[in-house]
């Protein structure tokens, strides 16, 4: 038992000489401190059994331990008295308590319909005075609380309204009997009561009774409010008579001793004639009259009575009642200072704001100051407005600071009595509400701290939950969000305490959700994507684990998945390797039953859980849209339509356009994609997890163009570095396509990751134009491809090299197969040839072709093949030019290959029907498709000639081919070329003879014979 908790009885009879020297207030404060200190040890840890869910859940190991810890702490409250009303506020002291209850079987709906209407009559101005009466309605009130009605009259049930169904006259006596039984429950304190009968018609209903009102049904009852007003007026009359009755008791008369329930037995056999006893009776009664005055709307009178009562009770050390008198003083002062109310229930039941001071002045009884001196004069009622009372009010009413001091004092007195725990608790709550308005949060927290450790009787689990919830709300009220969250979480834990037969996981979940702001946690992953992490990550993680677990127990795996995904996404930096494994493991377990989606989840409370895309699994660093491969790149054909068409402005330069272009350029990429072609986007990703990450169904999210994404699956090694991933897709329509992001499935959770939301991502533009589908041509030739190209490949041209070696006079056919592998018909073929030589005039045309034959096959439908034949005929005329041989000996000649250029892609496709400006020579309607075949002929030395002198060749080949005739030879060496035409076996001999001549002087020869 805490040291501060004296039993009431032991203190009661003792005179207070021992403490008489110090002032009562300072004593009280000291004892308040002491009791606080002493109580800190109240909660004794107990060895708690395992919570029933300790074994069931996914294993955040310390989580269960922690719950145990907290539950231990929460047990062991010691209880004494009635049920506390956690919603109490100081203004409730001026209200009359009316209980509204159903009798018999009344449907809840009907009852609360009437109850609501009754509640709307919460304040009434009395007709013949300027006082206002306030009513507090309850539909449930524990009768044992009623017994404290003498202590504080607002706890007393003074009115009872019963609502009942009665359909036939023969039920009526029974119904009426029930009403009387109901009255008995609060009988001792009731001033008046009413019975509302619904459904009864006929003779009985006709009789005019004040205590019973008959209504045919629940719709047809317009007079309910009027009835209530009459009822309240009758209450007022009784109240007024009681007030006057008590107030006129002269101090000399025998005053009954008012007492609280637990005191009654202590006063048996006490000397009722002693001065001490009389003073006590006086003081208590004075306090009681103060309460009645306050209820009757006579604020100033009540202040006077309370002051007197405080003096009287202090002198006899009647601490409990002294506390009550002080609290009454506080309440009255609070009502005066804060007309808006402290309960936060809205101003509906309060004064219309600013008119209060005037009204208060009016309500003030004349001569209040004198009353302070002469208590016997308290008989007049307070209807005469008198300005001279200003002085009295100023003196009697406590200042805002004093209110708090007096509250402290009162609470310290209450704390001496174990049985007054509820009173103390409620006083603390009231004081906190006042302090919250005064914005004195430190002091408020002191009161709350005290309230936490007030022992009540064995609280039921619901009451504990209620208690912690209310503590949390009060902390919230004074701006202590973290503290508030703490208690709310304790309340949540209480909902699922092992001692509860049916754990309230829903309530637990709901309360946990409410704690989140206090822990700087929101459930929107966007809040975490920017800036530094806010809040205590370890605490937040624990909370998320709890949410996951609670939602699982609620039977809502989708919620579990969402919370777990959120945990993984936002807390990734704070998870240890082991935790990462554990979390993903349990996430996979959940998603095997209920895959994670991108749909927002709506909670019953109106809250919506936004989707959690896994932007960190894997982390994407770069996003780059890739150009098409060179062979598929679209090429713009310069058309007669002119370039002016492309620039929309008639001005050469306009700053506006320049600006727009600049902007466009920054976002738009300068290449195009083609409808129907596979387009690629490269991502650089890495896996932050300490294990292999399997990403499935990874594809692109695009807008603007219908796009068929071809998802990929990848597996990233543990803690990989940057890893390139190419995502592909096919645009199905034309327009401007924007790559917005990508989608993945990781651990069974679908994610749509938008690039805009990714922090630290590097992207080189994400918008690209998609142009209409173009024909595609594949070219193959009858000749083998050559290994080396003649020309370095330029960006625009696609070349294929084939090589053939021919002797003079020889001819060969080159068949070029043109296959339309696209989806569009090919319509135009253009062939040009070019001999790369400076001396072409000497050699004439090697190549000839007949384009008509090929063109006859055009337009080439998709999948069709056309052939194009080129005749190659080598015909050199050695006779006419003397130095030809010489030239040839310098250069050699070889038709070593020819590149075939790919079809140039046509960017602009004029359609005949749409564009009348089509060139007239294009006889064929439809698209042009250019095919250009260019011949290249270069001469260089055939390498075979020098095969035997390889080392020499290697050195000399390059210079030979590049700079004809300039060969560096060693001194004394020369190079001899012998060229001849050979058409038969017999002429080989003469050729050999020619070689022989040369051979005598040369180191090595080769001959080649066609």
């Amino acid at each position: 038992v805490p040291a501060g908790d004296h039993d009431g009885a032991s203190q009661q009879g003792q005179p207070a000489q021992a403490q008489a020297r110090t002032s009562p207030a300072s004593r009280a404060l000291r004892s308040w401190r002491r009791s606080q200190a002493a109580r800190a040890t109240v909660a004794q840890p107990e060895k708690g059994g395992h919570p029933p869910w300790a074994s069931a859940g996914p294993p955040p190991r310390s989580f269960t331990e922690e719950v145990k810890f907290e539950l231990r702490a929460l047990r062991g409250w010691d209880f004494k008295m009635s049920v506390p009303d956690y919603m109490q506020c100081a203004e409730d002291h001026q209200t009359l308590l009316v209980v509204v209850q159903p009798v018999g079987i009344v449907s809840e709906e009907n009852f609360f319909r009437i109850y609501k209407r009754i509640c709307s009559v919460s304040q009434i101005s009395m007709r013949d005075s300027q006082r206002v009466l306030y009513i507090r309605y309850r539909h449930h009130y524990p009768p044992e609380n009623n017994e404290w009605g003498d202590f504080q009259t607002h706890r007393k049930v003074v009115g009872l309204i019963t609502i009942t169904d009665c359909f036939s006259a023969k039920d009526w006596p029974q119904t009426f009997e029930k009403f009387h039984v109901q009255k008995e429950i609060y009988g001792s304190t009731l001033y008046d009561s009413r019975l509302f009968v619904f459904g009864l018609q006929g003779e009985i209903a006709e009789q005019a009774r004040t205590d019973v009102a008959f209504y045919p049904n629940y719709e047809d009852c317009q007079t309910v409010e009027k009835r209530i007003e009459d009822f309240i007026e009758s209450l007022f009359i009784v109240l007024e008579s009681k007030r006057l009755d008590r107030a006129t008791d002269k101090s000399g008369d025998k005053i009954p001793l008012l007492c609280v329930p637990f005191e009654k037995k202590d006063f048996v056999g006490l000397d009722t004639d002693s001065r001490h006893y009389k003073k006590r009776c006086q003081g208590r009664m004075r306090k009681h009259v103060g309460d009645l005055c306050l209820q009757a709307g006579m604020l100033q009178d009540s202040l006077v009575h309370y002051h007197m009562s405080v003096e009287l009770l202090r002198s006899v050390n009647d601490f409990l009642w002294l506390g009550a008198a002080l609290e009454g003083l506080c309440s009255a002062s609070v009502i005066y200072h804060y007309p808006g109310g402290t309960g936060g229930k809205g101003g509906a039941r309060r004064f219309p704001g600013s008119t209060l001071p005037a009204e208060a002045a009016n309500r003030h009884r004349p001569g209040a100051q004198e009353v302070l001196i002469d208590p016997g004069a308290l008989t007049t009622n307070g209807i005469n407005p008198d300005t001279s009372t200003e002085i009295g009010r100023a003196k009697n009413c406590l200042s805002p600071e004093d209110i708090i001091d007096k509250y402290k004092e009162a609470i310290s007195y209450y704390s001496k009595y174990k049985n007054a725990g509820v009173i103390e608790l409620e006083a603390c709550i009231k004081a906190v509400r006042v302090l919250a308005i005064q914005k004195r949060s430190m002091e408020a927290s002191e009161f709350l701290q005290n309230a936490v450790y007030i022992n009540l009787r064995q609280l039921s689990e619901e009451e504990k939950i209620q208690r912690y919830s209310i503590l949390s709300e009060l902390y919230e009220l004074i701006g202590f969000h973290r503290k508030s969250a703490f208690f709310k979480r304790v309340a949540a834990m209480q909902c699922v305490a092992p001692s509860i037969a049916e754990p309230g996981w829903r309530a637990c979940y709901k309360l946990l959700l409410e704690t989140l702001p206090g822990y700087s946690l929101s459930l929107d992953p966007k809040d975490f994507s920017r800036g530094t992490h806010r809040g205590w990550a370890a605490v937040q993680m624990r909370l998320l684990h709890e949410l996951v677990y609670a939602s699982r127990r609620m039977g809502n795996p989708a919620l579990s998945v969402r919370h777990l995904s959120f945990l993984l996404q936002t807390m990734l930096d704070f998870l240890s390797d082991q935790e990462k494994k554990d979390v993903t493991q349990s996430l996979e377990n959940y998603t095997s039953k209920c895959p994670g989606t991108m749909e927002p989840i709506a909670l019953p409370g109106g809250l919506t859980l936004p989707p959690v895309p896994f932007t960190k699994l894997p982390i994407v660093r770069h996003v780059k849209l890739l150009n098409l491969p060179a062979s598929l790149r679209p090429h713009k054909v310069k058309s007669l339509l002119g370039q002016n068409m492309s620039t929309k402005s008639p001005f050469i330069y306009s700053p506006i356009i320049a600006h727009n272009r600049g902007e466009e350029r920054s976002k738009k990429i300068d290449f195009q994609w083609v409808q129907g072609d596979v387009c690629e986007v490269q991502l650089m990703v890495y896996n932050p997890m300490p294990f292999e990450l399997r990403v499935e169904n990874m594809g692109l999210l695009t807008s603007g163009v219908e796009f068929e994404s071809l998802p990929a699956a990848l597996s990233l090694p543990a803690e990989s570095g940057l890893y390139p991933v190419t995502l592909v897709g096919v645009p199905q329509t034309t327009g401007t396509i924007t790559v917005n992001g990508y989608h993945t499935t990781v651990f069974g959770v679908f994610s749509d990751c938008l690039l805009d939301n990714l922090p630290g991502i590097k992207t080189s533009g994400s918008t690209v134009e998609v142009i209409p589908a173009l024909p595609r041509l594949q070219i193959s030739t009858s000749l083998p491809r050559s290994a080396h190209s003649l020309q370095p490949p330029s960006g625009d041209e696609i070349s294929t090299n084939v090589s053939v070696q021919l002797y003079n006079g020889e001819s060969q056919q080159l068949i070029i197969k043109l296959e339309n592998i696209g989806m569009e018909p090919l319509e135009k073929l253009e062939v040009t040839s070019k001999v790369l030589t400076t001396k072409e005039k000497l050699y004439g045309d090697f190549l000839s072709w007949k384009l008509e034959e090929t063109l006859a096959q055009f337009p080439l439908q998709p999948g069709k093949v056309a052939t194009f034949t080129i005749n190659i005929k080598v015909k050199l005329d050695f006779s006419c030019q003397e130095n030809l041989l010489q030239d040839l000996s310098d250069d050699g000649i070889s038709v070593s290959g020819f590149p075939l250029s790919s079809p140039f892609r046509q960017v602009v496709r004029p359609r005949v029907e749409g564009k009348p400006v089509n060139p007239p020579e294009s006889s064929k309607a439809g698209d042009y498709s250019h095919v250009k075949v260019s011949w290249l002929c270069r001469r260089h030395l055939p390498c075979d000639v020098w095969a035997s002198t390889e080392s020499f060749l290697k050195r000399s080949f390059e210079p030979f081919s590049e700079r004809r005739g300039c060969v560096c030879l060693k001194a004394g060496f020369s190079v001899v070329f012998v060229l001849g035409q050979c058409f038969g076996k017999q002429s080989q001999g003469s050729l050999s003879a020619l070689f022989g001549v040369a051979n005598s002087r040369v180191l090595g020869t080769r001959r080649f014979v066609g």
């Binding site: 040890t41 927290s445 969250a485």
Partner: protein
């Protein structure tokens, strides 16, 4: 000093920077005590705020630096004198903070190879 304790340095985003003798529930109590710490630091002139809060058997003592770093100590024995040595911790803390590689108020102190 006997009895169990839990010590944590909390940055201004309520993020723990340093923890010692981790207790699972200690975090929650310490977090809840931050409200009172924040209120107290404006009321007192000292950096050492003494016992600012308590929950059941736990007392919470706090010390605030000029940079609004909060040293929170949970202990189950009321011992104001013993806790005065927050100044020692403060000295160490100051030395650490003056290290240029320390990124203030961040959980992870990254020291790159240079």
């Amino acid at each position: 000093m006997s009895g169990s304790f839990y010590f944590v340095i909390v940055g201004y985003r309520d993020n723990p920077v340093f923890e010692m003798k981790v207790l699972p529930a200690g975090k929650f109590i310490a977090h809840a005590a931050l409200d009172l710490t924040d209120e107290n630091m404006w009321l007192l002139n000292n950096m050492f705020l003494k016992t600012v809060d308590k929950f059941n058997e736990w007392f919470v003592s706090a010390h605030v630096t000029t940079g609004h770093m909060r040293f929170i100590m949970l202990h189950d024995i009321r011992q104001e004198d013993g806790i005065k040595n927050f100044t020692d911790v403060y000295d160490l803390y100051m030395k650490t903070v003056h290290n240029i590689w320390w990124v203030l108020h961040q959980f992870y102190v990254q020291v790159s190879n240079f």
